[in-house]
Each structure stands twice: as C-alpha cells, then as structure tokens.
Symmetry: C2
Subunit: 278 residues, 2 copies
C-alpha cells in the first residue's frame, strides 16, 4: 500500500487505519464524508485566501510578480457568497471528524480571515485565541500608501464551548515566547520568517510550486504546542504538505487531502525524502 490514495478508486468508507499517514487525492468535501466522525486530534487549515486580484495584472504590493501571484484556479471564487459557502462546507466537514476535545487552527490574511472567523463562530466553534504571525521578513510595501502587511492571522479554536481539556503544552509555548520576545508571558504574537530557501518546493522549471507555502517553523510551533506524540493531525487542503511533513518529523501522524495531482505528487516526494532522512 502506497503513500497516496486516489479517492476515485475507493468505494465505501475510510477507516482510520486506511488513511493514517496517507495523502488522499480527491475532493475534500466528498472525502471527509467518507471519514469516521470524531477521529482526528488536531486540524490545520490554510484555505484559499480569496485575494480578489484582477485576473491579468496583479497588484505588486500583494504578490511579487504577475507570474508568481496567487492567480490559480483554486483561488477563484465568483463572489463572497461562493467563497463563504465553500468555507462553510469545509469547516462543517472538519468539525464532524474532530474528536470532542480536538482543536483547529485556521490561517489567513485580512482578505479572508474575517469572513472565515465569522463562519467559525456561527458554526459553534469556541475561539481560544487569535494569533498574529508577525513576519520578520515581510515583503515591503514600496508604494508606501499603506502599512506593510507583515502579519497573517491564525485562529485557534475548540469544537464547542464546553471543551476544556484540549492539548496546550504551555512549557513549549513559553519556549517560543522567550525566543521571540524574551518574555515569560506567552503572547498571542509570534515572530518568525516566511518560507524561504531550501524549504520552498520548486517545479521542473525551478519556479515555486505553490504561492502560499507555509514555513516549517510555523507548523512545528503549532504542532508541538497543541498536540502530543502519536496524535493525528488532519489537513483537508494540504497544498505542499507542510502539515504532514512536520507532523511526521515530530512523531505525530497525519491525514492530508488535496484535489490537485501536482500537489499530491510533490507531497509524496517530500515525504519520501523525509523517510530516508529519518
């Protein structure tokens, strides 16, 4: 049995053992319906950001160049409504497969995080924190017509208000806060650089494979703080697979879904590389 499951070739339900530490190629909403309820310990979601950029010419303060911008099929939504509907379906599906004491992380920018947060509240998630990822090396806004957007926002929530015994490794959290600000207070502000250098996956042309690949250090922090070893970390829109890669590296298990073959292939390669390393 390989690392990848093609959902089209799978009839019936998924048992946990079928998909643990697997990448599933398929429509995430449909795949989740076939998963067992209350089966994962933590969820990380990095949804499409709905940048609303013009199709041809991307504005330079948003992205580096026209070619490399977020202008791909997966970020195309006709309207706020369509976007909201997608996020709502995604979060509903995720909530169903979360264990009762599981937590969920969602990352976004000001383009999408407000609508997304609002939907989380409406679905009954209980917010624990909004965390501000303060990038140490943001792209400067060289037109100087507004502030340099140096942050992304992470929302951290539990399934319901009544959940109390979720995982929060406070000593680990304090480690990072000491490193960031030399402070014993564990702030909801994190300082770390964006994804750079060797971490960045490239395609055959040497161009970056994915516009919004997250740094491993970000996932490391999230996973170490909010899961224990052997927990199952779930990413329903996995992209380049940083979630599963870091989870595995830290002795956790993963389940990842993506609908694009090129990303699934890249994840597969990345994880195989990890196996040889370990």
């Amino acid at each position: 049995m390989g690392l990848v499951i093609n959902d089209k070739e799978w009839a019936g339900k998924y048992k946990l053992k079928d998909i643990q530490n697997k990448i599933i190629l398929g429509d995430t909403i449909e795949v989740m319906k076939k998963m067992k309820p209350k089966s994962v310990d933590m969820v990380f979601i990095d949804p499409p950001y709905f940048l609303q950029l013009p199709k041809k010419r991307l504005i330079r303060w948003e992205v580096k160049t026209d070619v490399e911008g977020v202008n791909e099929q997966w970020d195309k939504f006709a309207s706020f409504k369509e976007y909201d509907n997608f996020i709502k379906k995604l979060l509903k599906g995720v909530k169903r497969v979360m264990k009762p004491n599981a937590t969920i992380w969602v990352i976004g920018t000001y383009h999408n995080i407000f609508r997304t947060g609002k939907i989380m509240y409406d679905l009954g998630f209980w917010m624990l924190n909004d965390v501000s990822w303060f990038k140490t090396n943001p792209m400067p806004n060289w037109l100087n017509v507004r502030f340099t957007n140096a942050t992304e926002t992470l929302l951290w929530a539990v399934k319901d208000k009544k959940v109390k015994k979720y995982v929060y490794n406070k000593e680990v959290a304090r480690e990072y806060s000491m490193k960031d600000f030399n402070s014993k207070i564990v702030f909801n502000v994190w300082r770390l650089p964006i994804c750079m250098g060797g971490q960045r996956l490239k395609n055959a042309d040497g161009k970056k494979l994915h516009s919004t690949q997250k740094p491993e250090a970000l996932l490391e922090r999230i996973i170490r703080i909010s899961t224990n070893p052997d927990d199952v970390v779930f990413d329903p829109v996995a992209g380049t697979g940083t979630t599963g890669y870091v989870a595995k590296k830290l002795g956790r298990n993963f389940i990842m879904i993506d609908k694009e073959e090129k990303y699934v292939k890249a994840m597969q390669k990345r994880l195989k590389g990890l196996q040889t390393k370990l």
Copy 2:
C-alpha cells in the same frame, strides 16, 4: 452655544457648522440620519465588543478583589444576529456621512472583529490594512490554558475600492515604526501600552468610568497618520471621548455622538479641561 447638543431638542437636519466640535447626546443611528452626507474626513469606531462573558465573578485569590470584566448594558446583545444588525446599521450610517476619500478605523478583539470585518467587506468598504495593536502590558492569562491575549485589531478601510487619494502621512507612520521596532519598514503592528494612570477617567467613587477607555497615544497615531490639520474626525460611539480630545489637541475638528448622559458629561468636562490647557 455650548459644547453639547441634545438630539431630542433638535428639529430637522444638522449642518456641519452646527455639530463641528460638538458632542451630541442621542441615538447614533438616528443622529447620523440627520447629518449631511459626505461631510467627514475620517471615522474612528470603538464599538461594543460583544464579550459574552460568564455571569459568575472571577476572584483574585491572593488579594481577594473581583476581576472586573465588561458587564455593562452597552455590551448586551441577545445573539450574533442582533449584534450583526447593530454593527451593520452603524457602518451603513457612517458610510453615508463619509466624504468620498474618507477613511475609517474600527477597533476590536477576536470576540467581535471577525464579524465586523466581514460586514465591512459586505458593505463595500475597501480594506487597506488590518493593524495589530500589540499591548506592551496586557493582562496575563493567569491559568495558562491559552495564549495571553495581548492584541486588539484595527481595521483601516476606505469608502470604496475606487478611492485612491486618501490621507496617509507616511513620514509620520515611519516615525512610529522607528520607535516601536527601530525599523524603516512601517509594519501593520503597533506597540503601545493600554490606558493607564492619570489618563483614565474616574467617577465620583474613584472607580474607572468606562471599562474600555482607549489610550490617547493610540488615537494620536491614528489621527496623525490618517488626517490633516482642520480635518473633521467623526466618532459615532464616543464613550469617554478620547477621539475628540486627541483630535482637538492635534488641531483637527471632531464630531462625537453618545447615547449615555454620563459619558457625554464626562467628555464635556474632559474637553473643557483641554481648552484651559491650550
């Protein structure tokens, strides 16, 4: 003509000269309807945050005093829906009186800022930045079960997507960024302390008058960066009146509205104190 206008005693519309540098006592939605469209240069809103705090009291065990949360009438909403409706009416009213190139600032915490931001997008405001106010002296999370909430979020937007020539004093912005982070990049992260000491308005008992008084330094930054001298700064839910106080101090004009007489009285006193100072 005094500093305060009682809306009940005012028939007909308000001309700009009637209300410039005045505090209006009345229902903000109704008052705004009587204001002239396209008349203000900048708006600052610090709406109720809809904290949904538990009814029980928290006690500090060592000193045996209550932890006073916000538990006041103005933060009472029955449901998300009721809260959303209030914010929607407020923002619609505000948009109407904004000049075409005016900008708007809205502040909040994770309790309310996501729904509020979503509504702003839906009403057609064009977001310029989300700014993270990183408090230098937050209340620590004493039980250590989540991150210390050390931030509030400011949303900064223009009236419509097509607005280009709004006020952004980039040199002033850089001043603050140098002070905060010794950086020439003007980050969307601001470091300043919460409202403390002599700034804080007290009532006759020596207790704080308002749970959520904003520091003058915050308003100073906002006003200096996003307005020019003699501009009209509008605050439709003025509370303790920090907006007007700082605006006046910086050579701007203000219009403030609040429905509670005790706050209007306090603002009046505060502004009279400023006149004697200047």
